[in-house]
Symmetry: C2
Subunit: 367 residues, 2 copies
């Protein structure tokens, strides 16, 4: 292999692929990334056996070939170089790297030892704008479970039905649901569960490539996201997503519409007093136009805060884990949100006029 | 105690004093800060028994008194409040805090249980500008030892002699020395060793109060830095600072003058290949005007980099811990630095025309 690449392009590809390597494993090749010439381009690939990434970049190819090199060292090294042309020249298993003022050698492992990343690009099921997918994921994926004790809850449910794509995440204490409109050309419906770690990677990639189209391919147990020159392949989670629709209240007794920033501000202050009490905050909606937040910690003290609210309905009180409220309010980026409640024992709902087809549900705490 | 304070002033005082508390200890009052009314002001005080801070702020005092409250909670709480007036009202051991939209109660511990912070303001030995002290400390204190196995090396040597104040730090692998001119009105000479942790705190405080004057008081085993409305009191380290003058070479065979940023850049890149080799970098100064940096790691590869240099003398080579070079070059903030060497076994020196009376010495490594 003998190729010339622009440092900037190589560095961008390495920063994306370099995140998906397995440094803890016993198989050294898994902490490497693959460089190989393919159809006049360079393919940079990495995998942790759960997720695989192929990143294709343009290059001047003098001699074909492939090699794997340590991801961390190669990424840090290329990133630290000046923004100029980089020459890569493979000599058996040693990669010689030349750029202005620098010349180095890195010992690699044969490309033949690198795990095969499956190519499943024969069943295209969806295409949507990176920007739309990013905005939807941002207000959904953090509600997924972070532990693996119930694998289904550590994934994001993708439910494609006619020209709707509904994304759902829940850890059983809160749930987020957002529906996107999809082009009618995609006829096949499907229901799959994508691991939250995969979705996090997709989120980072689309954030860096916001003007691209995202094309989705699936087979029985895998998904491939194609974003510009990047392919991300992941396993799917097997099983049936919970029938969550039944827990979403259809009507609410009381609705308070609030300035999002003001609500975040009093929650952040109140939660300081709720740490030793599992972040429990009591919320009182007063029909006269006030929302009050009360935090009590028997050992340290208490806090009582309020903001103005536009209240519809008779008012009421409920207790939530304040952290779950902050999770959504700090991601939603709208001027206003509304909180809907119905008694102390029914779930509360966060919605906003500014985002269509979205809801966030929080289970109440006994207080 | 019943007082009104501006949130902004209280918050600034808490952020400084809150750093010096002992959260790990068994004595709860040590993780608290003291609030007390003194001569028409509020004194906010904290101590970890090594360092004590008194921070005085203006307030409207209706009723005198004192109380200690948990530093972390109180600091986070006040910081999170809107920028308005805060009313503090002490009721036995419960502090009631009122501000716009918030009212809270924090349970405290009596001010009588708070350790006495000694007042040693009777022997004023020095006064200098915060800005000058900050600039000097920045290029000296990181060279002190971070472990306590040789206590003397975990301090900064303050040597006041006539109208010079010389600051020295060394961990025995490298040494930094900077001399400042002092007003002639201060006649007493002294030699003291100030713990590096104290100096780090002084550095942070003067960075936030850069227009103030720093007044230094000492007694037999303590030092007090007075910076505007803040007093920082610390123990001194007992013992004799090493006679370091003898290891500083008087002349050098070779001197290379370099662009600081370029030098940092090739060191950062080279050190990626030196990790498994104790950060050893070989430096070759070529009399024809080039400085070369070589890093070799038998397992992973090697790197060879060079930059242009203005060379005086016959040239030569030497090996250093690259981390020690980066420590100074990333703090020095000058356009140019010079590296002086004399053979492989003598210490190397970093100096710069842009900073008077400063030198940084690095012991060579065998390579």
């Amino acid at each position: 292999m003998k190729v010339s690449i622009l440092k900037e392009n190589l560095s961008k590809a390495l920063n994306t692929t370099g995140r998906i390597v397995n440094n803890k494993g016993t198989l050294p090749v898994l902490s490497n990334i693959l460089l190989s010439t393919e159809d006049g381009r360079i393919r940079i690939a990495s995998t942790n056996l759960e997720i695989g990434i192929n990143y294709f970049i343009g290059a001047k190819i003098e001699k074909k070939g492939s090699i794997t090199v340590p991801a961390r060292l190669f990424t840090d090294y290329i990133t630290s170089l000046p923004n100029e042309k980089v020459d890569l020249d493979l000599n058996e298993l040693t990669l010689k790297i030349k750029s202005i003022n620098f010349s180095s050698e890195i010992k690699g492992i044969s490309g033949d030892e690198f795990p095969l990343i499956p190519n499943i690009k024969n069943n295209k099921v969806l295409s949507l704008k990176a920007k739309d997918l990013k905005e939807a994921l941002k207000i959904v994926y953090f509600a997924a479970s972070v532990d693996d004790s119930r694998p289904i809850l550590s994934g994001i449910y993708f439910n494609k039905n006619e020209n709707n794509l509904t994304l759902v995440a829940t850890d059983s204490y809160r749930l987020a649901e957002k529906t996107l409109k999809i082009d009618k050309e995609f006829k096949d419906n499907f229901q799959i569960i994508v691991p939250v770690k995969t979705v996090q990677e997709v989120f980072k990639i689309i954030s860096d490539n916001i003007d691209d189209e995202v094309v989705i391919y699936i087979n029985e147990n895998q998904i491939l996201f194609e974003i510009g020159n990047i392919e991300l392949i992941s396993r799917l989670i097997e099983g049936q997503f919970p029938n969550y629709k039944q827990i979403i209240p259809e009507n609410s007794e009381t609705k308070a519409t609030l300035n999002t920033n003001e609500f975040v501000s009093i929650l952040k202050t109140s939660i300081l007093f709720a740490k030793e009490n599992a972040n429990t905050l009591k919320i009182i909606i007063n029909s006269k136009g006030k929302l009050e937040v009360i935090a009590e910690a028997s050992q340290i003290g208490s806090n009582d805060a309020f903001i103005e609210a536009e209240v519809e309905g008779k008012g009421g009180e409920i207790s939530f884990n304040g952290r779950y409220l902050l999770d959504i309010l700090q991601n939603i980026n709208t001027k206003e949100v509304s909180l809907e409640i119905t008694g102390k024992l029914s779930p509360g709902l966060i919605k906003t006029k500014e985002i269509k087809d979205y809801l966030y549900l929080i289970m109440p705490l006994r207080s």
